[in-house]
């Protein structure tokens, strides 16, 4: 039972990486005579197992390509948030003093905005693109990493081995890298898993609102949005990508909870 989330996530990974090699999809190609076909119908190019959308594009292909988009953006954003958050958090927690005070205030300010609102404003201000979406999502995403790392660094700086290293004259950078950061890995991995789920959700929401990725990039959010006007005649357009998205988020969420239970409050040391 405990392995199910990992297996599901593994399947999504495989689909995201090699799925596009087996299925051709061109978001600009719109065979209008194939529009709004129900799942299992025959089209001019084969069988649409999961139906087609309002302009005749295959839903299965959109789910496969959308998986790639979601995973890619999720991974990139988590990476950026992680690096920024860890750097800021470890410096603030280890150095204390004014750096820490400034960080606390910055976080106060950012928390006054609902995450998605900040993302929408940043993403909307610039031209649509993958990079802008990643930066916008990371602008809200780094905070939790900074908080976790800060908490770990704060408790570790008082430990005997850190004191010992300090007394022996080990440079500060080396103390942080060799004696503090390794202990942050567990909690950070748990946090990264939960953040990945939130970021994939936020990207889908952003694309749903039409502010996220350009229309040439396939995204579950866009497919769900495009199906909204055909709900009465073609339920599958919005429903199926949503199921794909929900299943991924649930699996990642459960995995995140498992990891948090293991590493959450910092490893026992």
């Amino acid at each position: 039972m405990r392995l199910i989330p990992r297996i599901v996530i593994g399947i999504y990974l495989v689909i995201a990486v090699i799925g596009p090699l087996f299925i051709d999809y061109d978001p600009v190609h719109t065979p209008l005579k194939d529009r709004l076909l129900s799942p299992g119908s025959h089209t001019s190019t084969g069988t649409a197992w999961l139906g087609t959308d309002g302009v005749g594009r295959d839903i299965l292909a959109q789910i496969v390509y959308g998986a790639r988009t979601s995973m890619l953006i999720g991974a990139l954003t988590v990476l950026v948030s992680c690096v920024v958050g860890i750097c800021v958090g470890v410096v603030a927690g280890y150095a204390r003093g004014w750096v820490d005070a400034v960080l606390a205030r910055v976080i106060d300010v950012l928390l006054a905005f609902p995450g998605i609102l900040l993302v929408i404003v940043i993403a909307g201000a610039f031209d649509r693109g993958v990079l802008v979406v990643v930066v916008a999502l990371a602008a809200a995403g780094w905070i939790s990493f900074a908080r976790v790392t800060r908490a770990v660094a704060l408790s570790l700086r008082e430990r005997a081995w850190v004191d010992a290293a300090r007394v022996m004259g080990v440079p500060r950078r080396e103390i942080i890298v060799r004696h503090v950061l390794p202990f942050a890995i567990g909690p950070v991995v748990a946090m990264a898993t939960l953040e990945f789920a939130l970021i994939v959700l936020a990207e889908a929401g952003l694309s749903f609102l039409g502010i996220g990725l350009p229309t040439t990039t396939v995204s579950w959010g866009q497919t769900i949005a495009s199906g909204k006007q055909y709900l009465e005649t073609a339920w599958w357009i919005s429903t199926l990508p949503g199921i794909a998205l929900s299943l991924l988020i649930i699996s990642v969420g459960i995995l995140g909870d498992q990891l948090t239970a293991r590493y959450g409050r910092g490893r026992r040391i």
Partner: protein, 309 residues
Amino acid sequence: MARMILRRLATGVFVMWGAATLIFIIVRAAPGDPAAMLLGPDADRAQIEELTRTLGLDRPLILQYFSYLGDVARFDFGQSYRLGRPAMDAVLDRLPATIDLTLTATLIAVVLGLLLGVVAGGRPGGVVDRVVSAATIALQSFPTFWVGIMLILLFALTLRMLPSAGVGTLAHLVLPSVTLSLAFIAIVARVTRSSVAESMSEQYVQTARSKGLTEPQVLVGHVLRNSLIPVVTVVGLHVGQLMGGVVIVENVFAWPGLGSLVVDAVANRDYAVVQAVTLLIAAIVTVLNLVADLLYTRLDPRIRLESAS
């Protein structure tokens, strides 16, 4: 107590200043001429030059920043080029609809969340507990916009019980507020569950049981009262998340509130409105967090004693 309120108020003012500064930076960093963007795509060169002068956009950035802060302090966000009226007026017009939606969703979330949490926490590890905890994970994982669409598909289009979009009657409020409340129900249920489960082993619960009270009496009369404290905090702290949900839900159901206004404004680069909405939302979140904090200290005398010592 007074000193604490003052200190928290000062933090609130600081947060608002930071929020205003952040918005200033984002708008200035965005590509394009702010005056041209404020006027919209139909403006001609003379208009743009005139507004550049009136807004002082030809002055050094630091002076612009200070005059902007002055305007923000007076709640003056300038004219919306699309709506042809002061941005703040347009925003305040939309505020009541959002308040209706969020209050209803909060009410649903608190009632259902408490109910689920008490039932699950009353017997930790039992069947109900496990079902509820699985349900809360699912509720938090479903994408809000997709759930909204699924509810429209089921209740509006298939069963034809409720309207799919718009405002007017109480029936219009049902689907949007339920959609908005789902993730919130899960949060309230989780917090209530853990706090109820913890209280079940306390001595006052044993006392209540040995007095011969029935299990429901113990749960409602003794356990629930103490479990309300963390719930108040969680409701206060999740106002921000709720406002984030509003942005999505209002767009799914064409609900004429702040959320649909801000997305519309962002998509059309109507920066006067974007600034007004984001700062208003930041203000609401800050104030409600403050209220939750104060309420928390009032409800639990132990915290007051701790902060006094």
